[in-house]
Subunit: 340 residues, 2 copies
């Protein structure tokens, strides 16, 4: 969980930078029409492309066959953004390689044969892309990608054809949400070839005021153009969030201070709390700390909680399955222990 | 404020016991038609009846002419239940004698010439009545009361004619309120010659789940009958509150625990809070402490806050007039300081 637990730059507004490359093996049908034996061979070929390479990187990776782990363990990987829900839906044939630092994951037999992801804390899109390219090259030493000289990389879904690149940043935008300015941003973002989503991708809500922004277009632009475009837009949004925070501080400091401190009070004292409420409150307290309103709360602990309060991760930490009601109780206890 | 700050019996359900005697001076018109000079003489006669007596009690009393104190000081006396709002409405002619222990107050030129009140913490109606009678006798040594052998004591309002006695208890009934059983109690209480009101008497809401129960009838029953009737009914309500608390504990302990602890969290962390919200939260925390759910909060501090958070008392403590917005801020600070 290095990506989430580390301190990030930009006053914590850019939580993470993520690069995802979609690749397929030449001559092999896409996963959704692949028979089990061929799927197994895809897993073998991709894993050995990494593990058998001479690169130092290869020693960092573990291979996890999805069918070998519990549903909770799978869901916890989703909560940590290391795999997608789609990979779980194909658990009989899918696998993932995750490195020790937990910032690189290679999903195998998701929508495409290979979904290579690098995730960094803070605003580090270029660094993430460099590492992704390096691993991409490593795989390509042993595997021939499905590639068209005119279109670029061929993918299962046409929206990924071309670079196969999805670059995204995860932003914490509580002040823009409180001031409702986020609605303007959502409207304009689509006009510049980007898309904005909640914490868990397409169709998900902005739990805890966390938003993902990513490129919509993979075709017709170079990797550099895609990344530079995202960097420019992100810089603008970060500026807007900073301005919104300044405005909040100036305009209604007591109301804001009260709202943020009450969030802290509830987190420290609740005996039962849902995932959604806890993410919302953690988000508020995090903003309070970053704005200098709330003292003596460690932002790293908040970041850690942001992941650990989620249902599957919570149950893994607790080492047992819990009913929703018991999860709320255990979640409240975990938060109290961490913050008190 | 001895009556409020002291620990009370019955697990804190009976906050206070109060006896009030209405008396008038024979041959003197009732206060609402009294000219200023005659009103002044009433104040002199009543105060000297106490101050010039040979009783040890006399040395305990201070005389306060309402016109000599600020509006805030007057309102704070109301908040402490030492005077009525009616006494403030006649500030040009009214006075009050208050003893050092602050459990006896003698209002002069309220609705009647004399309103003698004794208030005790806990469930001590008989003791309160004994002390009230003793002071009543002391005044009668020098003043001839307006008395009719058939009707009893004559009063300005016919509802007080007879004994002139109003006996009341102040009850903290959070569990009956939460379970909504309080509605049944309110309906039945009127059928047994008693009346139930909020924290500040007639027409007031049950702020902080505090209710006053008092006799409606002053005529046709002896003082002993009135008091015994109130004691019997109070015992029944206390039983019902205890049962409601047990039921809450059994049925939904996590939800209840969560609600009570969140109340504590908000009190400890809010930066702005209204009188009403703070009374509601203090009430919940108080019940939590009494039920053994919340540890390490001192119930005496909660009782103290219950009075001190109120607007006028708050401003007296702060030694300055405050806008409503500033009161909310100062109130939140006072609560934090007391509970942290």
């Amino acid at each position: 969980m290095a990506w989430f637990f580390s301190k990030s730059s930009d006053e914590g507004i850019v939580l993470t930078s993520r690069i995802r490359l979609a690749r397929n093996i030449d001559g092999v049908p896409f996963p959704h029409i692949l028979d089990k034996d061929s799927a197994k061979k895809v897993v073998e070929d991709v894993t050995s492309a990494i593990l058998d390479s001479n690169s130092a990187i290869s020693k960092d990776f573990d291979v996890i066959n999805l069918k070998d782990i519990t549903l909770n363990e799978r869901m916890s990987l989703v909560e940590k953004h290391l795999i997608s829900k789609d990979l779980i839906n194909r658990s009989d044939i899918s696998a993932v390689m995750i490195n020790k630092q937990k910032n690189v994951s290679i999903m195998i037999n998701e929508e495409d044969h290979i979904r290579l992801q690098v995730i960094y804390p803070g605003f580090k899109l270029k660094e993430a892309y460099e590492l992704a390219s390096k691993i991409d090259d490593l795989i390509e030493e042993r595997i021939t990608y499905s590639y068209d000289t005119r279109l670029g990389y061929l993918t299962s879904c046409p929206t990924n054809v071309g670079t196969g690149l999805r670059a995204s940043v995860m932003l914490h935008l509580p002040a823009l949400t409180i001031t409702k300015n986020i609605n303007n941003i959502i409207n304009t973002i689509n006009q510049v070839g980007l898309t904005i989503r909640g914490l868990y991708g397409e169709g998900s809500n902005a739990l805890g005021n966390v938003y993902q922004i990513s490129n919509q277009i993979t075709l017709g632009l170079s990797e550099e153009e895609i990344i530079n475009n995202l960097i420019a837009v992100t810089n603008k949004i970060v500026e807007k969030e900073k301005k919104a925070r300044e405005m909040l501080l100036e305009k209604q400091s007591v109301e804001l201070e009260d709202e943020l401190y009450r969030a802290l009070g509830i987190l420290k004292y609740a005996r039962s709390i849902s995932t959604q409420e806890s993410l919302e409150l953690i988000s508020k307290v995090r903003m309070g700390v970053e704005m200098g309103i709330i003292k003596d709360v460690n932002v790293d602990k908040l970041n850690e909680l942001f992941v650990n309060v989620q249902p599957a991760t919570l149950q893994l930490l607790e080492k047992r399955d819990l009913s929703p009601k018991d999860r709320d109780i255990v979640r409240a206890r975990l938060i109290r222990e961490k913050l008190n």
